[in-house]
Amino acid sequence: MKGSGSLSSLRAALDPGRYWSRAGEQLQTTTSGAAVARFGQYAVLPLLAIAGGLGPSYFGIRWTFAILVIVMYALLRSRSGLFGMVVLGAMLVYLPHQMDTFERGIMFDIALYALLGIGLNVVVGYAGLLDLGYVAFFASGAYLYALISAPQFGGGFDVGTSFWIVLPMAMVLAALVGIALGVPVLRLRGDYLAIVTLGFGEIIRIMINNQDGVTNGPVGVFAIPKPHFGSTELSGPVELYFVVLAGCFVAAFAAERIRDSRVGRAWEAIREDEDVASSMGVNTTAYKLMAFAIGAAIGGGGGVIYSAKQSAVFPSDFNLDVSINVLALVIIGGMGNVRGVILGAMLLIGLPEVLRDFSINIAFIHLDNLGADYRLVIFGAALVAVMILRPEGLLPARRRQAQFEPADVLEPEVAT
């Protein structure tokens, strides 16, 4: 019974056409899904006009953000494809010009975490490898750029161009680190993998903290130069935000293309049942390492941009919380779905910042600075709530969503 179950899931995984159309039909017949999709198409433009045109100066950041999230959700949920993406892109490009420095910083953080989420999603969402040490790749990218370009180590590099050279270098380095982590843990599964990767992330942080001669230890690396684009220095949060945004689009595009390729189908087979995948001739070793390497490369690239934005990096920037935040946004947004990751980043990274100065004064309850003081309390409670109410995430991948439907809907397909 169990064997045939895994076989059928593998067949479904290797034969996306049939599965997709079924999942698609289901999605359309789901009333809420269709309603939201329709809402998305009709409500987008006026809402966009409100959010973009009147902008934060009129509404304040909180309402603008709320509108932004609603629009994003509608756009991401509807399958308007190219149109939605173009509108989304235009909005993300236009909005920061309406914002002040603090708000631009938030937009940068959201975009950076979305980028990291897209990377981790390759490992966790596509290949099903639970990685709790993703910060290691982020840290390796950040420190590579910091050490090469910061003047306190002699440097000697042309800082004007080094960013664009270090970026691919960091991605390669992170990919190698990813493979180095991947090789010993190949045989591990599930929770074991989680705890080993967690340990690996901590080891990297402790090493950075203690190798004073190389990394300057807990004191950190300072005066990291900003990147240049042509002769323009990309110094403000908006300019670097665009760099991350471009990174997000490239990474998202690449990730979705890979997912739909032979590699992606192999990942899916491994995720569903590794033993069956391997016995069907999928080279599980190679594909798992590939997932680690690609996810890590994206994380490394994110690290370089982070380092350039911050101008200073410290080992304490790269603690376990980063890994947990990225994992949480991937899972809450909807595993295996780049759109879900983007939504997850907006909610998990953006919302607590927006609520920073939010206060509650009802009757005898007085909670000032709700966002600043209690945001992590709320964050923890929200993680639990989302898992209970929607364990598949807010915007699950279509194929994953189908898995959460009653089993009998899909079973007849196997029998034919």
Partner: protein, 303 residues
């Protein structure tokens, strides 16, 4: 030689703490196949309960000086009660609805509970560590060059006592048999008339009681309680549980002591700042070469 004995004693001290916490992980993992990431926070809540209890006695009475045995016993019992209550609540709210959900869901939920508890305590204490009142004399017993704090002796003895009691509980009582049966095969156990829900609650309660008690004693040992104190010992204890073969009760005990002693000895060679690295390297090595644990039974496949 004496230096080695000192390292060994230090290792046994911290190893006892790891062992007691590790039991909670291994029991819960045994019945639910889930890492209870919030387990370290139960330990932290125990430490805070211990602080508030002992501090209350210090402020309002002189019992801490006249009958310290009584106040310490009360603190430990209250620490256990608080931890057990919390564990049952979190099991009911955050884990039980997710029993049939995909595997990642309860893990994320547990991470959520962990973040929640840690930050509630951070707010409640205004990010200030709480310093325990002086219950034990801070002097040490000295044998040659070996130093042993009184509280250290207490901790070592108490962890042995707890481990012994737990072993008897698991092996000899009916509830213990039920826990082992559910760990072996939940569906079959349920067919044999075992109330699975209640057994899972018992498992959480037992693990939490141990963590709460360990928190109080560890708090007295390090003399402060902070909201972040549960995290690293929690991870280490999980490591210990894996070292001993997760799901195995004697394995978790042995793994705890093994990890504690390895860490203590490693400080001699690499310095104290690398002891976390040593713990994790040990974990990775064990998982690669003996994935069933140093002391566990070999199984063909682990999920």
């Amino acid at each position: 030689m004496q230096e080695w004995i000192q390292l060994l004693i230090d290792g046994i001290t911290i190893g006892g703490v790891y062992a007691v916490i590790a039991l909670g992980y291994t029991l819960v993992y045994g019945v639910l196949r889930m890492i209870n990431f919030a387990h370290g926070e139960l330990f932290m809540m125990g430490a805070f309960t211990g602080y508030y209890t002992l501090n209350g006695f210090e402020k309002h009475s002189s019992l801490n000086d006249s009958v310290p045995v009584l106040t310490i016993a009360i603190a430990i019992v209250l620490g256990m009660v608080v931890a057990v209550t919390l564990a049952l609540v979190m099991e009911r709210i955050a884990y039980r609805p997710l029993r049939r959900a995909p595997r990642l869901a309860p893990l994320i939920s547990a991470i959520g509970v962990s973040i929640l508890l840690r930050n509630i305590m951070l707010r409640a204490t205004n990010a200030q560590g709480k310093v325990y009142p002086k219950v034990f004399p801070r002097t040490a017993v000295e044998i040659g060059e070996i130093r042993l704090l009184y509280v250290q002796i207490f901790l070592i003895v108490l962890s042995f006592v707890f481990l012994g009691l737990l072993y008897l509980f698991i092996q000899r009582t009916k509830a213990g048999v039920a826990i082992r049966a559910v760990a072996e095969d939940r569906d079959t156990a349920s067919l044999m008339g075992i109330n699975v829900d209640r057994t899972i609650m018992t498992t959480f309660a037992v693990g939490a009681a141990l963590a709460g008690a360990a928190g109080v004693v560890y708090g007295m040992f390090v003399t402060t309680a902070t909201s972040g104190m549960g995290f690293i010992p929690g991870i280490k204890a999980f490591t210990a549980a894996v070292l001993g073969g997760i799901g195995s009760v004697p394995g978790a005990m042995a793994g705890g002591y093994f990890l504690g002693i390895s860490e203590a000895i490693s400080t001699k060679f690499f310095g104290a700042q690398y002891k976390d690295v040593v713990a994790f390297v040990l974990l990775v090595a064990v998982l690669i070469f003996r994935p069933w644990g140093l002391f566990g039974k070999r199984e063909d496949k682990r999920a």
